[in-house]
């Protein structure tokens, strides 16, 4: 096949033509010849963002192996080496390249572990809200009528409050009902649930809009005529065609979820200081900012900003490339 192939940039949809002609084409080849890959190859900024994002995810994922210290291990902490500045400031210690916090924990290690917690919660919360949102959106769009009215009214009410407000209130209620100690020990799971529940309407609306557009197309009619059950039409026929808007908002939602988690943790409604996320690191460092130890709070903050920024930039690029005008309203 390869000898008949012009460079992918010339005919981005060559592979699609082959699919249409009934040839078997591997998924990798489809991706390689897609417009997505083509525009990715031409955009250095996006490549850089993806690289930074991948590096941060990998560093966070392998934190237990690459971090110089284990911030959870009390025997590795020395109070004598507390509040040491990072390497470019006078008085720093080469053992702690990014300095230490008020308890003498190595900032580099705590940030790596913190980013790990933030990313786990971010991805978990998005997975949950995507699950709820996709199911509700499919039901509302495909079934219509009363189900649609009920689900969308629910989404409207929830969206008329800001999602952050909903998350703060739910977080406060959950913490008040379980008590702070119990809350702390299940904090990761609880935060995933809280942020997931607060943000599902975004997905539901997007999916519903796409479903409404797809519902009138011939392949859906065909599937209905041959007597397939609604569930199969919804999940196997319509859903695959609604994937690109879902994909696009997922990036933005991950960034939002990470910010929401950081905000909740900063307010003391999130991760406890014994198992800190980036947000709780910022919170605990904020107490020392007046004493001049700015790095305890600003270094985790900088990591948080870079993480969210690259995700947002990738999301912007994805939206421009895929550009379905469907979810604009």
């Amino acid at each position: 096949m390869s000898e008949s192939n012009p460079p992918p940039s010339a005919t981005p949809d060559k592979a699609l033509e082959q699919v249409a002609a009934g040839e078997r084409v591997s998924r990798l080849k489809l991706l390689r010849e897609s417009y997505l890959y083509y525009s990715f190859k031409r955009d250095i900024g996006v490549q850089l963002c993806l690289l930074i994002f991948a590096l941060m995810v990998l560093a966070a994922l392998f934190a237990p192996w690459i971090a110089p210290n284990d911030p959870y291990d009390l025997t590795q902490i020395d109070i004598m080496s507390s509040e040491l500045p990072p390497f470019w400031v006078d008085g720093s210690d080469p053992r702690f390249p990014l300095g230490t916090d008020a308890q003498g924990r190595d900032m580099l290690s705590t940030i790596l572990y913190g980013a790990r917690v933030s990313l786990i919660i971010g991805f978990g919360a998005v997975a949950l809200q995507a699950l709820i949102g996709v199911v509700f959106g499919l039901l509302a769009g495909y079934l219509g009528g009363r189900v649609d009215a009920l689900l969308m009214r629910l989404a409207d009410v929830q969206l008329s409050f800001s999602t952050l407000m909903v998350a703060i209130i739910v977080g406060a209620i959950v913490q008040a009902s379980f008590g702070r100690a119990t809350y702390s020990s299940y904090a990761v799971a609880l935060l995933v649930v809280i942020i997931g529940l607060a943000e599902w309407p975004q997905y539901a609306r997007t999916v519903r809009a796409t479903v409404l557009a797809e519902k009138g197309k011939e392949y859906v009619d065909a599937a209905r005529v041959i007597g397939l059950p609604s569930r199969r039409i919804m999940f196997r026929h319509i859903l695959p065609n609604a994937m690109s808007p879902i994909f696009v908002i997922s990036t933005v939602q991950i960034a939002n979820a990470i910010i929401s988690e950081a905000a909740l943790s900063f307010l003391g409604l999130g991760m406890p200081e014994t198992q800190p996320s980036l947000g709780s690191l910022i919170r605990s460092g904020f107490d020392y900012i007046q004493s001049g130890s700015w790095w305890i709070t600003l270094l985790p903050g900088a990591v948080l900003v870079v993480l969210v920024l690259v995700i947002n930039l990738l999301g912007d690029w994805l939206r421009d490339v895929m550009n379905p005008r469907l979810y604009k309203n």
């Binding site: 008329s160 952050l164 307010l267 003391g268 007046q290 700015w294 903050g301 948080l304 969210v308």
Partner: protein
């Protein structure tokens, strides 16, 4: 118009009903109010008497009806911590929050319109590209982090020593990047001017305004990028439309086209989003007020959570619910009034 009003009113009442049920369910199930009211040495018999006296042993529906009837008359219960009506506590903290939101909205309005319009008129200029890059950075920085950075730079001050200080240019660059600090970053200051009731204002004294600077900028920073991007996108779309091209073909002055013809239609969607965002800003005041110890509703709410002052929490939920519902309804109304293509009938709403 009447049908629209009734429909909106019905919607608003429904939402408030849901909020009040949620608020009451929280009040009914969470925390032990007795434990937070009395000391540890108070015997169980006295606690039981107090429980009975406060009506905490009544069935759910009785308590809800009592709660709802009270709420309609402005009685949202007594704060356990302040030992006075929760509504009074909230009203005392409300002016601080409203002034903060007002100052931030003013900043947003004054900055986003010129910047957004400029970025739409000259989309390729270096300055608009810089604005757009800064705005995506602004979206990515959480509001509490902006606040902390502002405190570090303009309240504490920061000396830059990145460049060699013994050379002339190094010292000059260091001086350029270093900040003095000195701006207040804690509370509202003590030179407030009394207006009426519980309303003391920050706007009437220099010290009050100085205290307002950092919190207002932090709060504005989260919405400003959003508005700039929105105004730019809408303006770009309007500039493509036929009536603008026609106005240009007629030879009208460009300034007149941009600011009279195009801006009018650009601002329509901005009103809708803007109104909703002002409600949303209430959520962000919780974060801003926490960082700056600004004695407003947000800080009060967070303290109420930490003290499990349940009546105050539920009262806050109800008040915030009212604020959201009222702003959303008003925004819909105003939008209908300024946009003649929207008919204020039940079906179009």
């Amino acid at each position: 118009m009447a049908a629209f009003l009734i429909k909106r009113l019905g919607h608003a009442i429904l939402v408030m009903l849901v909020i009040s049920l949620v608020a009451f369910a929280i009040q009914n199930n969470l925390g032990d109010p007795i434990a937070s009211m009395v000391g540890q040495s108070v015997p169980e018999s006295e606690r039981a008497a107090l429980r009975e006296q406060l009506g905490l042993n009544d069935p759910f529906i009785t308590q809800y009806l009592r709660f709802a009837a009270g709420a309609l008359q402005g009685d949202l219960g007594n704060s356990y911590f302040y030992r006075e009506p929760a509504l009074d506590v909230i009203l005392r903290h409300l002016p601080a929050t409203l002034e903060l939101v007002f100052a931030a909205s003013l900043l947003i309005l004054l900055l986003s319109v010129p910047i957004g319009v400029f970025a739409a008129i000259k989309p390729r200029s270096l300055l608009s590209r810089a604005f757009m890059s800064v705005s995506i950075l602004g979206i990515s920085v959480p509001v509490f982090l902006t606040a902390i950075v502002l405190i570090q730079l303009y309240s504490i001050g920061m000396q830059f020593t990145l460049f060699p200080g013994d050379t002339g240019w190094g010292a000059w660059l260091n001086g350029l990047l270093s900040t003095q600090g000195g701006l207040p970053a804690f509370g509202r200051g003590n030179q407030l001017v009394h207006i009426v009731g519980s309303w003391w204002t920050n706007f009437a004294s220099l010290d009050g305004l100085r205290h307002l600077i950092l919190p207002a900028i932090s709060l504005a920073s989260i919405m400003l990028p959003l508005f700039i991007r929105l105004i730019r996108a809408e303006m770009l779309e309007v500039l493509q439309s036929e009536y603008v091209r026609f106005a240009r073909a007629k030879g009208l002055h460009l300034r007149r086209i941009y600011f009279l013809h195009a801006l009018k239609n650009t601002m329509l969607p901005v009103i809708t989003v803007g109104g909703v965002q002002i409600g949303t800003m209430v959520a962000y005041t919780i974060l801003t007020e926490t960082v700056f110890q600004w004695p407003g509703m947000g800080l009060m709410f967070l303290e109420a959570i930490n003290r499990s002052d349940i009546p105050l929490i539920t009262a806050y939920l109800m008040i915030v619910g009212v604020i959201f519902v009222v702003t959303n309804t008003l925004v819909d109304l105003v939008y209908g009034l300024v946009n003649p293509t929207v008919k204020l009938t039940g079906s179009a709403a």
